[in-house]
């Protein structure tokens, strides 16, 4: 398959990024460079894949699937995107495939309501409460939220990773925030302390 993960002709070249040098060494079959790259991305990918697919059992396998593509395709990386954009695009592609496999095994539909019910707050810490709220989003919406707030991606980079137009990214973020409305309100530092 001649797929350029996350790379589009519009993307400006990314000069001086240390990871670019690592990818070049990986393309030359330098296993030490590959080990460094693996260590560099392992945690980020574990977090990203774990949050997007929410299935801990397959995360380790998916990380290796992603890294396998990095090893195989390093010579084809043309620096038309940041290395991280390229890697996350591969990861998203692999996550989608895993989600499809998961969905085939389940008949349950995703919730259709415009606004999701906020999880019971109780004694939950803000972080856990937010995490449970995010778990209720669709994978596409979670992707946009994760890449924005955890990975620090611009909307243009997210569009490359997700393989969709920029406006779609903005729309998905809009809907994700709408669905998280109650959770976001509860995170308001000036808001009431009693939560729903």
């Amino acid at each position: 398959m001649d797929r350029r993960y996350g790379e589009t002709p519009e993307t400006p070249p990314d000069g001086g990024e240390p990871e670019v040098a690592l990818v070049a060494r990986i393309a030359a079959r330098d296993q030490q460079a590959f080990a460094e790259f693996y260590v560099l991305y392992r945690r980020r990918l574990a977090r990203f894949l774990g949050r997007v697919i929410a299935s801990s059992g397959t995360v380790d396998e998916l990380i290796n699937d992603v890294m396998y593509v990095v090893w195989q395709d390093a010579a084809r990386f043309e620096r038309r995107s940041k290395v991280s954009t390229w890697v996350f695009a591969i990861a998203w592609h692999k996550a989608l495939r895993a989600l499809e496999r998961q969905q085939r095994g389940k008949a349950t539909a995703l919730p259709e309501s415009e606004e999701l019910a906020a999880p019971e707050r109780g004694a939950l810490e803000d972080r856990e409460w937010l995490r449970r709220g995010l778990d209720q989003l669709t994978p596409e919406h979670r992707l946009v939220v994760e890449l924005t707030f955890f990975a620090g991606c611009s909307y243009g980079e997210i569009a490359q990773i997700a393989g969709c137009p920029v406006n779609t990214v903005k729309t998905r973020m809009f809907h994700a925030r709408r669905k998280l409305r109650d959770i976001l309100k509860a995170l308001d530092p000036y808001g009431p302390k009693e939560r729903p």
Binding site: V39, R47, Y68, R177, R178, L184, L187, Y190
Partner: protein, 212 residues
């Protein structure tokens, strides 16, 4: 997000862009537009605070599972296995494959018979693992070391370069590095040299080296 129908068009645009202002990736005119609205619109300001709080929580959420330390070994085993398989296929035209397999079998049988007659006890004990095919450097003597906590990655690489050490695989989650010494290196000398280096907290021999 707000339900306020009285929002101006500029406020709506700023609200749409806020997540990327919060994460610092907004540029140019869009960034200026959001800044202007943040100065004048309480709705935008409140939403900014919520999103900033959300970002803080997400970035501080360190409870994700870490991939297992054996992951890299498994990956390299897969890559090396694929490499051997594809190299074998590339070398042999498909229609010669059955003949080649038969010939290989004959050679193996003949070799095994010859080996059986030899006195194996006087041969050096060479063997290969069934897991990861290590780079050539790993055939040399190896040491394991742990750096002091304040030693940076650059300083670690500098030490490897100074002594001609090759990193064997990825460091463990505990920060244990396995390094291969240069060919013909005196392992004992390297052991003492690393042990007295101010950057190194601990040096030891790998379990298999200790057993020899």
């Amino acid at each position: 997000m707000t339900d306020d129908a009285a929002l101006t068009a500029s406020e709506r645009e700023a609200l749409e862009l806020l997540p990327w202002h919060v994460n610092g990736t907004l540029e140019g005119e869009e960034r200026e537009q959001v800044r202007r609205e943040l100065r004048s619109s309480l709705t935008c300001r409140l939403e900014y605070e919520r999103l900033a709080r959300m970002q803080g929580l997400m970035q501080g959420d360190d409870a994700e599972q870490a991939a297992s330390d054996r992951g890299f070994e498994r990956l390299m085993a897969r890559i090396n296995a694929d490499g051997r398989a594809s190299a074998a296929v590339a070398r042999q035209p498909v229609h010669w494959l059955p003949l080649a397999q038969a010939a290989t079998l004959l050679v193996l049988v003949a070799g095994a018979a010859w080996w059986w007659r030899e006195d194996a006890a006087i041969r050096p004990g060479t063997y290969q693992t069934l897991t990861v095919e290590q780079p050539a450097a790993s055939q040399a003597a190896q040491l394991r070391l742990v750096f002091k906590a304040d030693v940076t990655q650059a300083e670690r690489r500098a030490l490897f370069a100074e002594l001609g050490l090759q990193l064997v695989g990825a460091p463990t989650m505990d920060g244990i590095y396995t390094v291969a010494l240069p060919d013909d290196a005196n392992a004992r000398e390297f052991f003492h040299r690393l042990g007295s280096d101010p950057r190194v907290a601990l040096v030891t021999t790998p379990p298999e080296e200790s057993a020899r």
